[in-house]
């Protein structure tokens, strides 16, 4: 397969991605071609790599997300491009983001389980918004009284947040084991009782060592 031919496939892939305005999978890209001219998977992957390189220094880039490949505006230009749109980008409430986070990290999860962790009721509005945005969906019902719906995130959620998979979510901070906490508390409590906590610092050296400083680096990539 010669250079010229590859360049043509690359241009067609670019044309299709721009025409679609949404992610296209490798298969979808290959199926644009008739059976007699359809590039092999590796060829297509190579072409996409070339396309990615050819976008360097331009206003847009090729990104791989859950549903496939998408051409999108480079983040650095968002401040300018954002001025095109009169509406400010939507902000989401903490309640919605926390609910979304629980569904993302704990899926499949029921509303009741979300409420247990958040300590408050989850409004139906939030669930409806998440379902309407197609960020979450019902994947089944838990086999307990009431058969509550279990929620999971969708491909669209991953696409929207520029992720290829759930494993790309920032890692959750670690939680200390309950038993361990129990032991520690016991010690501390005894300390407190003993000194009636004039300065609770009696127990502090230990606990400082365990301080809650970000246990896992929550770096984005």
């Amino acid at each position: 397969m010669n250079e010229e031919h590859l360049a043509r496939i690359q241009a067609i892939a670019e044309a299709a991605l721009l025409a679609a305005g949404k992610p296209l999978s490798l298969e979808q890209l290959r199926e644009l071609f008739g059976e007699d001219e359809r590039p092999a998977r590796q060829v297509m992957e190579h072409v996409l790599m070339m396309l990615e390189q050819s976008c360097e220094g331009r206003g847009f880039e090729l990104r791989k997300v859950a549903s496939g490949y998408r051409l999108q505006v480079r983040e650095e230009f968002a401040p300018w491009v954002g001025r095109l749109f009169e509406e400010k980008p939507q902000r989401y409430s903490r309640a919605l983001l926390e609910t979304l986070a629980l569904i993302a990290y704990r899926q499949p999860i029921t509303r009741g389980e979300i409420e247990d962790i958040r300590g408050v009721t989850v409004s139906s509005n939030i669930i409806r918004t998440l379902l309407e945005r197609e960020w979450v969906r019902v994947v089944g019902h838990r086999d307990v009284p009431g058969r509550p719906a279990m929620y999971a995130t969708t491909r669209q959620f991953l696409d929207y947040f520029n992720l290829t998979g759930l494993d790309e979510l920032p890692p959750l901070s670690e939680v200390r084991d309950l038993e361990e906490i129990g032991r520690e508390i016991e010690q501390n409590m005894q300390g407190e009782i003993k000194f009636d906590s004039p300065d609770g610092s009696g127990a502090s050296p230990d606990s400082e060592a365990e301080s809650e400083a970000p246990e896992s680096d929550q770096t984005l990539h």
């Binding site: 044309a15 939507q90 408050v120 901070s173 508390i185 409590m189």
Partner: protein, 275 residues
């Protein structure tokens, strides 16, 4: 003053008349009452800023620079109760969860005042440990929510790139049909029409039917065609027989007419419909 008090922090900055200081755990807690003082009309806003009792507790713990694992329960409980009390005094509606948490805190506090029993009741989970577990759990998802909010997302940090379309060829793809589908359809219709019993269809050779169609298409229009031209010698004897049978069938169905001007003269064929 009201404008300054939308946030707890702002409330602190206004430094209004001091609430009498309380010595808690022997610590000099000078700054807490300031923090606690919230003008009544800001309370509703204040509560709205929290995502429930766990969030409020976390806030109080952080204000004190405490470690979750090392909460000064009495102090936190006192502060929590102050907030709840203030909110109730103002008759703002308070979510039930806040009251449940108040009860839990009160229980923990009372337990801590009692001498600890050395019972090995495993069912009896230390309510403080349970509270810490929940706080920890909540905090990690609160953090996860913040992290998710930071992830570059569409319509805020990036936008889908699209270009206008040129004129596209209009193409309508055809559905695929399997021979089996065709046969099932035929079976259905024949059963309905009860044609199996009549032998009407079965007797006929399909090659004859095909040839009938062929002859008719040759006879398109109002023209005579010589009888012989319907036959293709290369097809051999069988072909000739098929064509002949097809011609007879067409005559029988009155689809064609055969004309012979004189005895032993050339035979001509014409589609009847064309006359």
């Amino acid at each position: 003053m009201t404008e300054d008090t939308r946030e707890p922090e702002a409330a602190q900055a206004t430094t209004p008349e001091q609430v009498p200081l309380a010595l808690v755990s022997g610590k000099p807690l000078v700054d807490i009452p300031k923090d606690l003082y919230i003008p009544p009309d800001a309370l509703a806003v204040f509560l709205e800023a929290f995502e429930g009792p766990l969030d409020l507790l976390l806030y109080l713990i952080r204000r004190q620079n405490m470690n979750i694992l090392d909460i000064d329960v009495s102090e936190i409980t006192r502060q929590y109760m102050d907030y709840i009390g203030a909110v109730e005094a103002m008759r703002f509606e308070l979510a039930a969860e806040y009251l449940v948490m108040a009860a839990t805190l009160a229980e923990i506090k009372s337990r801590m005042l009692l001498p600890r029993q050395e019972s090995d009741d495993e069912e009896d989970i230390d309510p403080r440990a349970e509270l810490i577990r929940r706080l920890q759990q909540y905090e990690r998802f609160k953090k996860a929510a913040e992290d998710i909010d930071e992830i570059p997302r569409m319509e805020r940090d990036t936008f889908a790139a699209s270009a206008a379309l040129p004129k596209l060829p209009s193409s309508q793809p055809h559905p695929d049909v399997d021979m089996k589908e065709l046969l099932l359809a035929l079976q259905g219709v024949l059963q309905r029409a009860d044609l199996f019993t009549s032998h009407h269809v079965e007797k006929e050779r399909l090659s004859t039917r095909e040839r009938m169609s062929h002859i008719l298409s040759v006879l398109q229009g109002d023209r005579f065609v010589t009888f012989e031209s319907l036959f293709t010698l290369e097809e051999g004897r069988l072909g000739v027989v098929v064509t002949f049978l097809a011609t007879l069938e067409l005559v029988k169905e009155q689809l064609i007419e055969i004309v012979q001007a004189e005895v032993l003269g050339p035979i001509h064929v014409r589609a009847r419909a064309a006359s």
